[in-house]
């Protein structure tokens, strides 16, 4: 089983819980979600406890993540968007830390489960819809009717805009999930090549020598995966900000 590249995504029950026929077991996915939240909280609490005017390394990391999210939110949703800052910052930290925790060998990657990323995406879109209707009422539906469109085309264009809007949570969740899943499978496959080449007896001395090639690839892919882990968290945050901007100013 050790060589099965999909094996790492299996969900195992740690504490089986059943409530009224519903399976609410505490699984390894739940464990790593709790771990993600714990690591995030610990990092932010510990690093900001000193509150020095001259920041320590940890404090400046926390400040950098704050500044990063704040400037992203400000540039795409304006200053009013800052009311969503706690939400966006939590999302960013959760996705980033979950991705980074997944980079440890033998650890479970929470964001490689589509239901997790879909739940995060629905949280974003739900916020956009609820806030949009609460703030603008029926004017929020103006989002789907671009003005300056000839009357005959309005139903068609509205239809297309609605499909485009509905595709947002799908693309948001599928992107994060697919990138993490594909990256981890690729890593596992190349790491598996190292073992099978080095252990193969039919190749003689040739096997161990050529097994260096997939090893180099694995090292390079690990670096790439760290980049992807960060970029996906960034993309998720940027898109969240853009969608929140639509909820704040739905005037197109």
């Amino acid at each position: 089983m050790a060589n099965d590249p999909i094996h790492q995504f299996h969900i195992n029950k740690i504490i089986p819980i059943e409530v009224g026929g519903l399976d609410l077991s505490f699984t390894n996915a739940s464990l790593f979600m709790v771990a993600t939240v714990a690591v995030t909280a610990l990092f932010l609490i510990m690093s900001t406890s000193g509150r020095g005017l001259v920041p320590t390394r940890w404090q400046s990391m926390a400040e950098m993540s704050y500044e990063f999210v704040a400037s992203t939110l400000r540039s795409s949703a304006g200053n009013e968007g800052m009311r969503f800052f706690p939400f966006v910052f939590s999302l960013f930290m959760f996705v980033l830390i979950a991705n980074l925790i997944g980079m440890f060998p033998y650890f479970f990657t929470v964001t490689s489960q589509i239901i997790v990323t879909f739940a995060l995406a629905m949280l974003v879109i739900g916020t956009v819809i609820v806030y949009g209707f609460a703030k603008h009422g029926m004017k929020f539906l103006g989002l789907f009717v671009p003005h300056g469109v000839p009357g005959v085309l309005v139903p068609l264009v509205t239809m297309i805009e609605v499909i485009s809007f509905l595709s947002r949570p799908i693309s948001l969740s599928v992107r994060l999930f697919a990138n993490m899943l594909a990256g981890h499978i690729t890593l596992k496959v190349f790491a598996g090549f190292v073992i099978s080449l080095a252990a193969s007896e039919s190749l003689g001395l040739f096997g161990p020598v050529t097994s260096v090639l997939p090893l180099i690839m694995t090292v390079a892919l690990t670096g790439l995966e760290f980049l992807v882990a960060f970029l996906q968290a960034y993309v998720f945050t940027v898109l969240t900000c853009m969608y929140l901007n639509d909820a704040l100013h739905p005037s197109h």
């Binding site: 400037s71 400000r74 540039s75 671009p146 003005h147 300056g148 239809m159 297309i160 805009e161 499909i163 485009s164 509905l166 595709s167 947002r168 799908i170 693309s171 599928v174 992107r175 697919a178 990138n179 980049l227 970029l231 996906q232 960034y234 993309v235 940027v238 898109l239 100013h249 005037s251 197109h252």
Partner: protein
């Protein structure tokens, strides 16, 4: 950012230490405000600065944007057919609309098609 004070006062040695500190804090917050404003101006005028990270992020976005449009269009069409028994017309029509929505998504995220909102703002 540039203050006309002499450097002796900036060190906080001339006045009582509290006054020096609050003066420095005030100065700091003023220069931070100034920096934030210039940052905002830079962000709105020239978006090329962070092009490295953004370019990579954009590349990751484009493919899924298109696929998601098609998937949602197909899904709606399939549900439409299942509900009203108009198979296969709902699937055909909504799949085509999904393709259009996918292209719209891609053009929008590539910035080829400006949001009407941005155009009004004069961006």
């Amino acid at each position: 950012m540039v203050s006309p004070r002499d450097p002796g006062q900036e060190e906080g040695k001339a006045g009582p230490p509290d006054a020096g500190l609050s003066k420095r804090m005030e100065q700091l917050s003023r220069s931070l405000d100034a920096k934030r404003q210039t940052d905002e101006r830079n962000a709105s005028s020239g978006r090329r600065r962070e092009s490295d990270a953004r370019g990579f992020a954009l590349a990751m976005r484009l493919s899924t944007e298109f696929v998601a449009g098609v998937l949602v269009g197909g899904g709606i069409g399939w549900l439409f057919d299942a509900g009203l028994g108009t198979s296969p017309w709902g699937l055909i029509v909504f799949l085509l609309l999904g393709f259009v929505a996918g292209v719209l998504n891609v053009l929008r995220s590539a910035g080829k098609l400006a949001d009407p909102l941005d155009r009004e703002r004069g961006g």
